[in-house]
């Protein structure tokens, strides 16, 4: 093991020690994995040369499964056990899913998030997504013949906290270390902006299979600043399929009831929709239980059906422009992302709104994964220092329920992350010793119209007169866009703090249980894996410490240096052994012991930024 190797800032480690970092676009209809190779981001193909993995998982007998194209091919034949578009169910309860009755699945209203009954048992959307992520992880590991160090996974910008948490849980289940969750339009902007050396204000219009995002970004010298974002986490190409299917069924006077018919009509609608992107008319044909169905559709008929959906996206675009206080003519270009932007009516509508032709000079399917790969490469420390900085925002306001079912906003939408805010509350009854807190996300004033993220209670407040207690509730959103909430009673000196994880996320023991259940992961040997991960982490920490000491060791007193050196050699020593827990403990001790040093280094960095000096001049 290359312990204590010192790498200069701004220099990547030796080629054979480059960390394999990947970007993954976990999409509603299809998913991709990309990586930076030889300084260039590219999507990784499977052994048959295909880069696109359909987001489809079919559960077979005896715990076997098909993932991707094979599963997709079987969806009409085995609709109940072939799960597609599960991204629409991530972090969602059954009541949240509109039109569930039109889908061929047997849903179960499980706590926190719905599940689907398959022949292999109950499947959570997180588990299904993990199958897809693991498939892409294996693809990357086969390509590089090495372990994946970490991944940047993209999520729709308009995903709420529960949906982000569910995505992170799925990655953990697939054995992937998440370097960062980033927003899909931001990832697209990175790939587009770096490719075209663009500067200025750009809109990214991202209409995927199941989600719609609109982000406004300002690009300046490697800084990608999201000015505002908006969208609809339940609007995408699938909805156009449903609209067309409903219309055709009404035309033909046919009703579908069986799972097979429900899936067959949707598959046929999607094919007809895609044909209409290049042809003026198409025929929707499907083999239903009652016999064959064949209905002609013209493009203008389809566009009439699509108009309400397209208009919905345009009103999101207008709201984002208002939020950003920007007029359409200040936007230098509208970048089109997502397979659904292939529809001519979508391109025309967006062109008209911005008064200029939309930008379609990139592959709408691949661009998100490519941008994620570039960010993953930078976060893994393979890129050059300072070449890329993302300043993203939260899409939806976060708040608390107050008296009367009203929402008190703590953090406004479009706040740049990471962000924290606190607000003081008090008790309303004499002698009240507990306070119930309800965390919500959304723009509506009524709590009932916002998404409920978590409920928790602050207990142990000393009895006081009503209004005397001062309870400070703090919200913190990290760089992944994930929220944590804590509450403290301040006046009495007695402090009670509660950390919450949103109730939509899976609990850690649930994840552990799923892992034990023999997840698709080829490696059954969890102990060996744990040890290897601990060693990688130890090595990473040693490298980081060594380079920090090389750069800023002069900040430390002699005694402080001795302490850190002792912690460092403890990590090195335990890493030679076989005890993963001991290695992790030593790494954690080194992390704690260098916290003050890290703060000092950052002070120095800030001072340098303010005085305009850079490291080379020192």
């Amino acid at each position: 093991m290359a312990l204590l190797q010192i790498s200069e800032p701004g220099q990547s480690p030796n080629p054979h020690e480059r960390r394999i970092a990947v970007g993954i676009d976990l999409g509603t209809t299809h998913s991709l994995v990309a990586s930076v190779r030889h300084g260039h981001a590219e999507c990784l193909p499977d052994d048959q040369g295909r880069v696109i993995l359909p987001s489809a998982v079919r559960y077979l007998e005896e715990g076997r499964r098909q993932i991707g194209a094979d599963a997709l091919a079987a969806q009409a034949e085995d609709p109940e056990n072939t799960l597609v578009s599960v991204k629409r169910f991530m972090g969602r309860r059954l009541a949240d899913v509109a039109g569930a009755e039109k889908l061929p699945y047997r849903f179960e209203d499980t706590p926190g998030m719905l599940s689907i009954v398959t022949r292999d048992g109950l499947k959570s959307p997180v588990q299904v997504s993990a199958e897809i992520l693991a498939t892409l992880r294996f693809r990357a590991e086969d390509t590089f013949v090495d372990d994946v160090f970490g991944a940047v996974i993209t999520v729709p910008a308009y995903f709420d906290d529960a949906q982000r948490q569910a995505t992170k849980d799925a990655a953990q289940l697939a054995g992937l270390k998440v370097l960062r969750l980033i927003n899909e339009p931001t990832a697209a902007a990175i790939a587009y902006g770096l490719d075209n050396a663009s500067e200025g204000l750009y809109a990214v219009y991202d209409l995927g299979g199941g989600t719609f995002d609109i982000s406004l970004l300002r690009l300046t010298k490697g800084v990608f600043e999201v000015v505002a974002t908006g969208g609809d986490a339940a609007l995408g190409g699938d909805d156009f399929d449903h609209a067309l299917a409903d219309w055709v069924l009404a035309q033909a006077g046919v009703k579908v009831r069986s799972a097979h018919d429900k899936r067959a009509i949707l598959v046929a609608a999607r094919a007809a929709k895609e044909a209409l992107s290049s042809a003026g008319e198409a025929r929707l044909t499907a083999e239903l239980d009652a016999g064959p169905l064949s209905v002609p559709v013209t493009r203008s008929q389809f566009e009439q059906l699509a108009k309400p959906l397209v208009d919905k996206t345009l009103s999101s675009v207008r709201r984002v422009l208002r939020d950003a206080k920007v007029k359409t003519d200040e936007v230098q270009g509208a970048v089109m992302v997502g397979g659904s932007t292939r529809m001519p009516c979508v391109r025309a509508a967006v062109s008209e709104l911005f008064g200029r032709e939309v930008l379609i000079n990139l592959n709408p399917d691949e661009v998100v994964a490519l941008g994620a790969a570039i960010q993953a490469n930078a976060l893994a420390g393979n890129g050059k220092d300072g070449e890329l900085l993302l300043l993203d925002v939260i899409p939806l306001s976060l708040g608390l329920e107050t008296m009367g079912g009203l929402t008190e906003r703590i953090i406004e939408r479009n706040s740049t992350i990471p962000v924290a805010a606190a607000q003081d509350f008090t008790t309303f009854k004499d002698g009240q010793t507990a306070l119930a807190l309800h965390v919500v996300q959304g723009e509506r004033e009524l709590v009932s119209e916002c998404r409920s993220l978590a409920r928790f209670e602050l207990r142990g407040i000393p009895p006081m007169a009503a209004g005397a207690a001062r309870i400070r509730v703090s919200f913190q959103v990290d760089a992944d866009g994930l929220l944590s909430v804590s509450a403290k009673e301040l006046t009495s000196g007695v402090e009670a703090t509660v950390q919450v994880k949103p109730s939509y996320g899976l609990a850690d023991d649930q994840i552990a249980h799923m892992l034990k259940d023999g997840f698709a992961s080829a490696e059954a040997d969890m102990v060996a894996r744990k040890l290897r991960e601990a060693r990688v982490e130890a090595e990473r920490m040693l490298l980081a410490t060594a380079s920090a000491l090389a750069a800023d060791g002069d900040l430390l007193s002699g005694a402080e240096r001795v302490d850190i050196d002792a912690l460092t050699s403890a990590v090195g020593d335990t890493a030679q052994g076989e005890d993963a827990d001991a290695i992790n403990a030593a790494v954690e001790a080194l992390a704690k012991g260098t916290e003050a040093f890290a703060a000092e280094r950052m002070n120095r960095g800030i001072q340098q930024a303010l005085t305009g000096r850079n490291i080379e001049n020192l």
Binding site: V223, E225, G381, S415, I417, R540, G605
Partner: protein, 186 residues
């Protein structure tokens, strides 16, 4: 190169520094938005957690604290109203909007007329026209606040007068957010 002890004393920047000091800007109302944004980006380039992605959990926590602090200051500095309120507070005239609700009668009349106009406005164009009018009023009030905070000699009296105008501006801002809500639903 300085020794370790003096080196530490040299780095004075603290999480608790006031926003202007943190951004290295003069402590006044008049500011260039482009300059604020440029300093924000250069600070984030130094402290953002992504910059320390390979340096472990401790560095991540510290970086997050700094990044949060820099974003908080940026949010306050870039918004002229929040900046004015902050300056008033620094100069001993806190806004305390909940305890100081008294407003001049003429201002309240204007507010009522606006509210009526918004209730009666039909269609996006009419609402936007009202927004333009309110925007003009907001700009005038803001330039008066700037004059009080930057040009007056008696800083304490001027800050109290500015605080009064800031409270008025908070009403105006709330009204503008109501206009925005109407536009959202239009």
């Amino acid at each position: 190169m300085r020794g370790a002890a003096t080196g530490r004393a040299f780095f004075l920047m603290k999480l608790t520094d006031n926003d202007f000091a943190l951004f290295g800007l003069p402590e006044r109302q008049q500011q260039e938005r482009a300059e604020i944004d440029a300093r924000w980006k250069s600070l984030q380039a130094q402290v953002h957690p992504d910059r320390f992605a390979s340096e472990g959990a401790a560095a991540q926590r510290v970086a997050m604290q700094w990044a949060v602090r820099v974003n908080e200051a940026h949010k306050r500095l870039r918004d002229p109203l929040a900046r004015a309120a902050y300056l008033c507070e620094l100069r001993g005239a806190p806004i305390q909007a909940n305890e100081n609700t008294a407003m001049p009668a003429s201002f309240l009349m204007e507010q009522m007329e606006w509210r009526e106009a918004l209730d009666e406005a039909v269609g996006v164009a009419a609402i936007e026209a009202l927004d333009v009018e309110v925007d003009q009023r907001e700009k005038t009030l803001l330039s008066e606040v700037q004059q009080l905070l930057d040009d007056e000699n008696d800083a304490t009296t001027a800050a109290s007068a500015a605080a009064q105008k800031v409270r008025a501006l908070m009403f105006v801002q709330r009204f503008r957010s109501d206009i925005a809500k109407r536009l959202d639903n239009a």
